[in-house]
Symmetry: C2
Subunit: 203 residues, 2 copies
């Protein structure tokens, strides 16, 4: 290919580095992995933290059932293999967003330790922040915002986490949010403060 | 849950809107889908455009074989079904990046019109920009940067696009880059100018 001079483009070889995007955004890319029971407050905390960060000028994005289950993972069911593949794909997508410099929150029950640990293994140290949204099943069942616990107790939903399927709590999460005892605002504030103190909000 | 006052967090309901992120980034999220033969220059153009945009302060990101085939799509082979699923997943991920406000370039041969059109259908009008990187097979084979055409002619790679498998050119691409006749710099400049003229580089 002939070399040609261009008036506008200065040519460089290779990909933009992650650090270049992070400098542009004034933040470090990170995957904040929220795990907890249905009704524990994962999505509410994720959406609250997203809003707080964007209002401070940071680029944050939430991956949750709304944009994953009907899109990327719409061809997955609820067999053990499909549940693992569900989490694996979400982890790979979160890794791409992290590489792009985005602060990405994932909001999925993700009940199995092995699946979450596999995602952690995909990433560089510091790129994966596991947050246990730790309201226990009694609290979540009492709230039962979507009526799912009632249906699960009635046997209408098989293998419902916390009722008829296990939830394996994280052993060494970076952060625990006790959403049974603290308000959503407090949880969001603690999460954002964690990201700030660990240096994710500057580049 | 009790309402509590927080000193730092102003609480709002619901997700940040795409427009909020776009205003923050000063750009419109878009999927720029580069399609063309092996060796046509897709990746070189994608990486060049990414660099030019980031140097102008825009957030751009490339999805290509490097970050997809060994990650999200590592459990896919080369059967017709797996090839379609490969493109489908890439389309869904590109849609997420677009929703996050990112200018995402995808660099995959994506030889089948039906697969590309399915991705277009996923997106809102204007969110999907199909770019035909249109060097023909003679030019790509003469370059043969990776030695793949030689191997394909020797029968060492079955179903190689342009040699032993079809390439279905786009019928109505938003842009055609004739990388056989113009330099990489010219192609990059034309692509960036297209994005500028169509308003993607402001919010």
């Amino acid at each position: 290919m002939t070399e040609q001079r261009s008036t506008h483009i200065t040519w460089h070889e290779g990909h933009v580095r992650r650090e270049d995007r992070e400098r542009l955004l004034g933040q470090r890319g990170v995957t904040v992995w929220l795990t907890g029971l249905s009704g524990s407050g994962k999505s509410t905390v994720a959406v609250g933290a997203e809003r707080e960060l964007v209002s401070r000028g940071h680029l944050a994005y939430v991956l949750d059932g709304d944009n994953i289950r009907h899109g990327l993972n719409k061809n997955l069911g609820f067999s053990p293999e499909d549940r693992s593949e569900n989490i694996r794909r979400i982890g790979e997508v979160a890794k791409l967003f992290t590489d792009a410099g985005v602060i990405v929150f994932t909001s999925f029950i993700s009940p199995y330790r092995a699946d979450r640990d596999a995602v952690r293994t995909l990433m560089k140290p510091g790129d994966f922040v596991e947050v246990h949204v730790a309201a226990d099943v009694a609290v979540c069942e009492e709230r039962d915002v979507k009526g799912l616990y009632r249906k699960a107790r009635a046997g209408e939903i098989p293998e419902f986490t916390g009722v008829s399927a296990p939830y394996e709590a994280p052993e060494h999460p970076e952060l625990v949010l006790d959403t049974a005892r603290e308000s959503v605002e407090e949880s969001v504030e603690r999460l954002v403060r964690y990201l700030e103190e660990k240096g994710y909000l500057s580049a």
